[in-house]
């Protein structure tokens, strides 16, 4: 490199940024016009800087200005609402901005209004909105232009969304490499910044001696996109490639293997699984089968690979054989069937994802089953944004809703070429729900805010998991919930609660690596004393009286697998 090249290189950044004086700029321009090497380097630098700028941008949300102005109005000397009112009354930039200010004004003006007045205002607004929606809809109905595709049993037409599931839009397999999110666990084997950083960069201030896997990200920023990493390191090869054994500990893999062996022994001739309790078994067979299959899938088994591929294959057949072709509902519409639906849909989607991850296009039967199942789920969200035990049940339930979110998020991630309008809408509903049941301390209610008195951490763990799916590890709520949940670590001293432990493990893994490390250490300790010789777990644990040993063992396996099941 000659002197001119060194000189040009030293000024390259200032040249790109237009911060050179005229003579220096001329010198650099002259040099790069005759030096291909410096020209190429300059172009590379420009590309890099453009990529960094474009790749990390973030704009203020649509209500940001409204919040700031509302607060500012509180501060000034003139009566705030008067000043905002004057502002709104002025000719302004556009309707959107004016509306923003109007909302700020109304919010401020009526912030201290009595409850009855607020209620009247809300109802009036609701009636107005409904009238705006209902009247045109009915008008279309009379004119015979309303789409005729309905989800049976749905109170509302899903209209435009359905043709893409059942009509021409169904089309071929999506190209997983060109989708917005890669799901084929293999991409995580490629060198990336997560794996290069090492445990010491994961979280500072860790108190646990438990090592943290190198792939746990310090930050996950893309919210829903984290579900693109559902498939972690499920196979032995993947775990070995990542040297996860030393983080995982040598005891977990044999315990998971023993649990799966126990579960396999409980599979019935039709491919399904049942709870010990005959009554519960009949109404929850779909859900219990789904949970058992998730445990197998969690360890890398699918229909085409793994020690238990035949178990998975016949289990999937059982689920699909029991799915209604039209509605997409798994099993019967008796009892608390939305649990069954969310769990079974999650199992089918995970199996589909693993088949895709194994380099295949993805089995069409699984995809079709999943699409129908998710369509049913998306049509079942109630007006509060939550899901109840049954289709459109008015009373939502955080635990049921979590399973539906699981399936919805998987579908969003795995089937990017499908019409996801209804799924996105349902996920928005779930966000409303989780917010509505979260109290000021971060505790999550079962059916309403503050509704859980005896063991609020349990439903809070479910909420933490939901927040982690929706938000990654962002936000104070999730951080606070991680703190709350981690105060009730696994222990063999009390009846096991694998349902709580499972959700807490998932949520902590996604939210707080340090807390997860300590949690996982205690979990392994507790599990070691709870697992029976046959590999199963006692029904004398939370919900074991209903789900029996298949349920407790499946949940225990899923809990142990969290470490490598989700990335």
């Amino acid at each position: 490199m000659g002197a001119d090249c060194r000189y040009a290189k030293s000024l390259a950044l200032e040249y790109i940024r237009g911060e050179l004086d005229a003579s220096a700029e001329d010198e650099v321009r002259t040099h790069i016009s005759i030096c291909p090497s410096c020209r190429a380097e300059l172009d590379a630098t420009i590309s890099l800087l453009d990529a960094v700028r474009a790749g990390t941008g973030m704009k203020a949300s649509s209500r940001f200005a409204e919040r700031v102005l509302s607060r500012a109005a509180e501060i000034g000397e003139a009566p705030a609402s008067d000043r905002l009112a004057a502002l709104v009354a002025k000719p302004y930039r556009n309707i959107g901005e004016k509306a923003t200010l109007l909302v700020a004004f109304l919010g401020h003006r009526f912030r201290k209004a009595p409850v009855w007045a607020a209620a009247v205002a809300v109802h009036a607004a609701a009636i107005l909105v409904l009238a705006c929606v209902y009247i045109p809809f009915k008008a279309r109905d009379y004119m015979g232009t309303v789409p005729t595709s309905f989800v049976p049993g749905s109170a509302e037409p899903l209209a435009e969304d359905l043709p893409n599931y059942f009509g021409e839009g169904r089309g071929g397999e999506p190209d997983i490499d060109s989708g917005p999110m890669k799901i084929d666990g293999t991409h995580r084997i490629e060198p990336d910044p997560w794996t290069e950083t090492g445990p010491e960069q994961v979280e500072s201030g860790r108190t646990s001696g438990e090592p943290t896997p190198p792939w746990i990200p310090k930050r996950i920023n893309s919210g829903i996109s984290m579900v693109g990493a559902w498939f972690g390191f499920r196979s032995d090869e993947e775990r070995k490639a990542k040297a996860l054994e030393k983080f995982q500990g040598s005891e977990t893999a044999p315990r998971v293997a023993a649990a799966l062996k126990f579960l396999a022994s409980r599979q019935e001739s039709d491919g399904g699984f049942s709870a010990d309790d005959p009554q519960a078994g009949s109404s929850y067979r779909i859900g219990i089968t789904g949970l058992a299959l998730l445990a197998f899938l969690g360890d890398g088994n699918s229909r085409s690979k793994g020690t238990y591929k035949s178990v998975v294959s016949s289990g999937m057949s059982f689920l699909m054989d029991n799915q209604d072709d039209e509605t997409g509902l798994f099993g019967s519409s008796q009892g608390h069937y939305m649990y069954n639906q969310g769990i079974a849909a999650s199992a089918v989607l995970e199996c589909y994802g693993l088949e895709k991850a194994a380099g295949r296009a993805g089995p069409a039967d699984l995809k079709e089953s999943a699409a129908r199942a998710v369509s049913f789920i998306a049509s079942s969200v109630n007006e509060t944004g939550g899901f109840g035990y049954t289709h459109l049940e008015k009373t939502g339930d955080t635990s049921v809703t979590a399973w539906q979110l699981n399936a919805l998020a998987l579908f969003l991630s795995l089937c990017p070429s499908e019409d996801q309008t209804a799924v996105r809408s349902a996920i928005k509903g779930v966000r409303r729900w989780i917010k509505s049941v979260t109290d000021g301390q971060g505790y999550v209610g079962y059916r309403a805010k503050g509704g859980v008195k005896t063991f609020p951490e349990s439903m809070t763990a479910v909420g933490l998991y939901m927040n982690s799916v929706l938000l990654g590890n962002r936000g104070y709520v999730a951080k606070r919930q991680a703190e709350l949940v981690s105060r009730k670590p696994p222990s063999s001293g009390a009846p096991a609660d694998f349902y709580f432990w499972y959700y807490a493990s998932c949520g902590l893994l996604k939210t707080d690596a340090a807390k997860f490390g300590e949690w996982n250490r205690l979990l392994k300790k507790a599990v070691a004393t709870l697992q029976a010789e046959d590999g199963g777990f006692s029904r004398a644990s939370a919900y074991g009286d209903v789900g029996g040993r298949v349920f407790t063992t499946a949940m225990a396996a899923l809990t142990m697998e969290v470490y490598y099941r989700i990335g």
Partner: protein, 197 residues
Amino acid sequence: MGMGTEYRRKSDFELMALVGGDDIEAFAELVRRYQDPLVNFFYRYAWDRFLAEDCAQEVLIRVFRASKSYAPTASFKTYLFSIARNFWIDHLRSSRAGREISLQSAVDGDETVLGDLVESQERDPGDGLGGRETGEIIRNAIDSLPEDQKSVFVLCQVEGMKYSDAAGILGIPLGTVKSRMHAAVEKLKSLLKGKVV
């Protein structure tokens, strides 16, 4: 011509003078001009949308409170980002001391912050570059810069400030800004080679 257009033609200094006289529309115009750069600035440090917006909001409110005593010295942008940088430093200190922004405000706060997430799937950082992984790689690379280089890089490259303005905000000599910027870019080149460009 509407009042909004009139405000849009005013300089930052003029607007600040009006804000000092309790003209909230002038403040609205300043918010409109700087909300994205400020949120962007904090996002580069926090990688957390909630936090970035909370911090940006606090900074704008500080500016509003200080408007009566505001005396133009350097550019308004330099003034604003000096407050932002100091706020971030204070935030880090207070976070370490265990203080956090009200949980209640996060729970009962803006629906739009949560509501943006699903919609933002198409417009998340990095999408335009071939996928979320790219954005994640870039974020990790920026995070790996030493703090002094990161500060310069964020101000100069991300916020598009002149070296002299960045020097003023950071309180360091112009030459130091240049050398840190060069070092940051060279490190990013080595980290991102073959990954994003």
